[in-house]
Symmetry: C2
Subunit: 314 residues, 2 copies
């Protein structure tokens, strides 16, 4: 598969999840940041996955990804078991309590990019060990845009490596609690100022059921989440938010120079990207695993997007 000018290369986890929420429980279901991200992004643009699974990973799921135009040639099938995450959400759905993390084949993963993948114009480093993020980044000759997610665990355990990665990142997309932890600040504006100094000049802060905020050196923007009554499982909402967001940025063919050359256009595009991210997340939460977004069609998506725009306009 050759690259288009809109192709996104993503590295992250492909996983089995065991999840408990107030709405029920799901055992050993498909998950992982890369899975959620790539399915969401595939609504907008071609996607290439770099990742690893064990021999227990269902072949038909890889075929499903492939049938959506997602390039899975970078998914290594390794001897052993697929990464497994187990977590629980209590009434506060904004924060998961991790019960178990079995790295399995992810433990010795050493990503090697194919010549095509080395030339992918957009890179999204999903939530994964910053060492792996960096390895992918170093092999890619991407010149357009790099975006990145992370989590509390890496901020606390691998801060130095994460800071090295961040120097090469244009767009950082993390939760607000992670932004507080990373910056040491206690309000969003100050946190954003601090993070600007670490590298990324565009910061998207995910706020769970409260939507998201955007900070660039010239723009501050906040948006609530879509208000829904169907809430089943928030797992993957942040990853699918990022998928639709990044998918939109790539489809619009934006690059890092837009920020400095046309900040007005950049912030307008980012706002639309975030809007798409919120809509995608509002579907993800309606069912366990990838169940809802895998059967989502473009018409439903656009209908809700239009509802959402009405919900937030004055």
């Amino acid at each position: 598969m050759t690259n288009s000018e809109n192709t996104i290369l993503t590295v992250g986890s492909l996983a089995f999840d065991t999840v408990e929420t107030p709405a029920g429980k799901a055992d050993q279901v498909l998950g992982g940041s890369c899975n959620y991200f790539s399915i969401a992004a595939s609504f907008f643009t071609p996607v290439q996955i770099v990742g690893v699974v064990g021999q227990d990973f269902p072949q038909n799921h890889l075929e499903t990804l492939n049938s959506r135009g997602i390039d899975i040639s970078g998914v290594e099938i390794s001897a052993g078991k697929t990464f497994h995450w187990s977590g629980k959400y209590n009434q506060n759905l904004n924060e998961a309590q991790t019960l178990a993390t079995d790295l399995n084949v992810l433990e010795n993963f050493n990503p090697k990019l194919s010549p095509e993948h080395q030339k992918a114009p957009y890179v999204f480093l999903a939530n994964i060990d910053p060492d792996l993020q960096l390895k992918v980044l170093e092999q890619n000759e991407c010149s357009k845009l790099v975006a990145c997610d992370s989590m509390n665990f890496w901020i606390e355990q691998k801060k130095e490596q994460l800071l090295t990665t961040l120097k090469k990142v244009d767009v950082l997309c993390i939760n607000e609690t992670e932004a507080y932890l990373l910056s040491g600040e206690s309000n969003l504006s100050s946190a954003a100022d601090k993070i600007f100094s670490l590298g990324p000049k565009t910061i998207i802060l995910k706020r769970g059921e409260y939507g998201a905020a955007l900070f660039t050196p010239t723009c501050t923007f906040a948006i609530p989440a879509y208000l829904t009554s169907k809430i089943v499982d928030p797992t993957g909402c942040g990853d699918s938010f990022a998928g639709a967001l990044m998918g939109y940025i790539a489809k619009e063919n934006l690059d890092r120079n837009t920020l400095t050359e046309n900040p007005e256009l950049w912030s307008k595009a980012l706002k639309h990207a975030i809007l798409n991210g919120c809509v995608m997340a509002s579907f993800t939460i309606e069912d366990f695993s990838l169940n809802r977004i895998i059967k989502l069609d473009k018409t439903e998506f656009l209908e809700r997007k239009s509802q959402f725009e009405k919900m937030i306009s004055i």
Copy 2:
């Protein structure tokens, strides 16, 4: 003082507060729902207060209220001490931990409305014992609009009286956690549906640093809060939010019939009312007590309102 067609009558507390936040501590400073509400509302429309203070209450503060066109003839000065609330906020500024509540003169307060107050066209029942809210409501021949606030304590301790009050209330303005408690539901949409059945057909849910949501039978709307880096004390943010909101509704001369006769106009006006409420709250949080909003001028308010509109528009 005679009523204009835009006058709001409000009943609530006038208090001394002792507050501790991550930004510092304030001892025995002016507070109370009625104080915050009336100062905020006075930016928009004439206000009449019904309340009680002790002999320790500073005369010059009553004069300050008076100088802003707030009718204090319904403020009873009673033998004894003014109501005192003491509370503490930890990192989560959305929820105060109450350390002490000394009712003092509020304990035996029995509001009696003057003939003018009985004819006030708008009534706002600030957060106070639902028995007192009901007493005021029964004496007022208001025909235009009644709005109401409450809190967890009354929902738990005086639910029956609160439900009696709610039957006569057009606009309920409470925190989202209070809405969950009142409705027994666990998402905002279902909570709103349940509360519709209790009386109020317009529900405004305050979400602290995350803004607010509006529910009417024909409209769902959500707005984030103004993102600020100056955060000192959230006490009174909800009350001043309600003051600006209600002030705008009264200034626009809306009444309960607008909801059924012109739901489009009603929801548009309510959105603007909420916008004003968010801006007012963003000033309140910048200092302890009433300090910031008492020195706020209309120009500053309008400047931030315009900034805020930019911050939330796509």
